[in-house]
């Protein structure tokens, strides 16, 4: 351990400049993350060139702040208006939005903040203390391992189908089909483009999420004429703030879920190429399976908010691990930061911590301080944001559509994405009416390409022989786990419904 560098770094970050940059970044991040369709990635992309011109200790803390703020910010519209602010916040909608509808908006926001901060803190500490050994974990994952992990994730998450297994599988294959649209770099071929250039990029993930969650909800609300419940505003905000505020006991009661979800998020973050949405969905699934009250999930369970939020923030800290250790970014934001690092002359890789030890530790301290700052700022903001629930729905929901439209449009400066968003809105509406779960579709749409690619790569690497999988213990472990899960689900289903639906 480089004790001197660690201490130097600590003092380096405790300066007005870096701290101000952290704070500014966090505020920008929360703001941008809370606008549907805008992501922290966009904000970072806009400000990276600025960071090139600033010295490392001013420019990079700004980006780090935006990253962390953005990840929390995404939960805000998810809870309040059923619109994911970032991909990782999609799972938060399942329980966050119902909570807001029950008048517990502020509690949900607070839970989300507590969980996010906890997840962030845990993964940052892990990053700090165990970077070297954990970096090796990333190196254990080759194509067969990725494939096995993807299969495991798909099966687990598709299994969160609520009541009907068949409906869940239907949704899963729908997502898989959607994921095949476009040009693929590994096979070099284009599929389902119908001669239209707009399809070549495939269906954008955020467009799909916004359509599925936000637009469909607007359609559903329109049926009731956007009528608000006839309750006083104090009821909407929870009686006398008592009922609507997170209590110590409730937060403490979440500690197991948070720890478990943070562990999942950290693990996912360490392995490049996965990302926050997968972590959030996996954590949600595990929380549901290990909960004492699984029936509450989807109806406003506090655990259902805590789990995805701690996981998606935990990914954040852990994503820097492969970045610092190998120069391989864990997800797209880390990739953008990679560019920022390189421009500062700090080439990520094994010599990063030998050549720039003090600066790097300063940044790590910065991350930990950022968590505290985020908590402080956001805690006060929750009351403010929660008031959005007071806006009459007939004003709020159309406005949401207008913002969602910009968000989709901004992805390619093309109305095509907006049209796609509407199509998914209608699909989502249909799915809600028919009781078809979203989660399996979202996960397969996200992972579909990756599964295919890793399958092809595995085939090549294993020289076409299935038996060679046996020489990859990690991959086999995941396959075995998958089998166990499937078996448990089958047994559970048989026990629950004797002679009932299949």
């Amino acid at each position: 351990m480089q004790y001197e560098a660690i201490i130097d770094g600590f003092w380096m970050i405790l300066d007005w400049g870096p701290l101000a940059m952290l704070a500014a970044g966090i505020l920008i991040g929360i703001l941008v993350g809370s606008m549907p369709g805008l992501t922290a990635t966009m904000a970072i992309a806009l400000l990276v060139p600025l960071s090139y011109q600033l010295p490392a200790l001013l420019g990079i803390p700004l980006l780090i702040g935006i990253y962390k703020g953005g990840l929390y910010g995404g939960a805000i519209p998810a809870i309040l208006i059923s619109t994911p602010g970032t991909g990782g916040a999609a799972a938060t909608i399942f329980d966050g939005y119902p909570m807001a509808q029950q008048g517990k908006a502020r509690k949900a926001l607070q839970m989300s903040l507590v969980a996010s901060t906890a997840g962030d803190a845990i993964s940052d500490v892990v990053l700090f203390l165990f970077m070297a050994p954990l970096a090796m974990v990333a190196l254990l994952f080759g194509a067969p391992e990725y494939f096995a992990l993807f299969v495991f994730s798909l099966v687990i998450i598709a299994g969160v189908t609520g009541d009907s297994f068949l409906k869940g599988v239907f949704a899963a294959f729908l997502g898989l089909l959607v994921s095949t649209i476009g040009i693929d770099s590994v096979s070099g071929s284009s599929r389902f483009t119908f001669g239209n250039l707009n399809f070549t990029g495939g269906i954008n993930f955020m467009t799909m999420l916004i359509g599925l969650f936000a637009v469909s909800e607007v359609l559903i609300q329109s049926e009731k004429g956007f009528r608000d419940r006839d309750r006083k505003s104090s009821d909407l905000l929870g009686a006398a703030h008592g009922e609507n505020s997170l209590t110590w006991r409730e937060a403490w009661g979440m500690r197991r879920v948070i720890a478990q979800s943070s562990a999942i998020g950290t693990f996912i973050g360490i392995i490049p190429g996965l990302g926050a949405p997968i972590a959030a969905f996996l954590a949600y699934t595990f929380a549901k399976r290990t909960s004492r009250n699984p029936e509450l999930f989807g109806k406003g369970s506090l655990e259902g908010v805590a789990a995805p939020e701690s996981a998606n923030n935990a990914v954040n800290g852990a994503n820097f691990l492969p970045l610092f250790a190998f120069g391989i970014p864990g997800d797209i934001i880390a990739a953008v930061m990679l560019g920022a690092f390189v421009a500062q002359g700090m080439r990520p890789g094994p010599d990063l911590f030998t050549q720039h030890a003090a600066t790097m530790y300063a940044l790590l301290w910065g991350m930990i301080i950022a968590n505290a700052m985020l908590f402080l700022f956001a805690w006060f903001l929750t009351s403010l944001y929660a008031r959005i629930v007071l806006i009459p729905k007939r004003i709020l929901f159309p406005a949401i559509l207008a913002i969602a439209t910009v968000g989709s449009y901004s992805l390619n400066n093309n109305l095509f994405d907006v049209k796609a968003m509407i199509v998914f809105g209608i699909v989502g509406y249909g799915m809600k009416k028919f009781g078809i779960p979203f989660a399996p579709m979202i996960i397969t749409a996200l992972l579909g390409r990756s599964v295919e690619n890793s399958l092809v790569q595995s085939y090549i690497v294993l020289e076409g022989k299935l038996m060679n999988f046996l020489s990859h213990p990690i991959a086999m472990a995941f396959f075995v786990l998958t089998g166990v899960v499937l078996l448990a689900a089958a047994i559970g289903a048989k026990r629950r419904k004797p002679g009932g639906e299949n």
Partner: protein, 162 residues
């Protein structure tokens, strides 16, 4: 619609999707083996889409079959999928939404959004000059300024183009 009905409709939809994919794939997707594969098991770009089509067929059949199971039949009829009064409201919203998107190129974001918000609000009961003013003027301009100037997203200018 009861759960039984839902299963049957969904089953039909699933079979329809399966058919559609089988028909579309030969024209849209290459069937050439991906370089590197092909010796033992042929993996082509069409492998996954066709697997999906097959899956949809199987799921479709199973859904319809399950709809005859006793467990489902016993369930009480659900509420209607959509109330009669809700239909015009839903249709209006969908039509406005489509009109919004398809006229945006021509009208420009600002104008289209303004009209869209105004129409929806008036239809669903917003009254009063201040409320309508906020909805039709302040909100579109605020969105336009923030996304267009701060986040540098070039929104369509439409007929307001200079």
């Amino acid at each position: 619609m009861t759960e039984v009905g839902i299963y049957r409709v969904l089953g039909g939809v699933s079979l329809a999707i399966s058919l559609a994919v089988y028909l579309v794939v030969p024209g849209q997707v290459s069937m050439q083996p991906i370089p590197g594969t092909g010796d033992l098991v042929r993996i082509t770009p069409a492998t996954v889409p066709l697997a999906c089509a097959t899956a949809f067929a199987v799921i479709g059949v199973m859904l319809v079959a399950s709809s005859f199971s006793r467990g489902l039949q016993r369930q009480a009829p659900d509420a209607k999928l959509i109330e009669r009064e809700a239909l015009p409201r839903l249709s209006f919203t969908v039509i406005m939404l489509l009109a919004y998107v398809f006229t945006m190129e021509f009208l420009g974001y600002l104008l289209a959004t303004s009209l869209f918000l105004l129409m929806l609000n008036l239809y669903f009961g917003t009254r009063g000059a201040t409320q309508l003013g906020i909805v039709a003027i302040v909100v579109p301009i605020a969105i336009y300024l923030f996304f267009g100037r701060v986040m540098l997203i070039p929104l369509p200018e439409g007929i307001l183009e200079n």
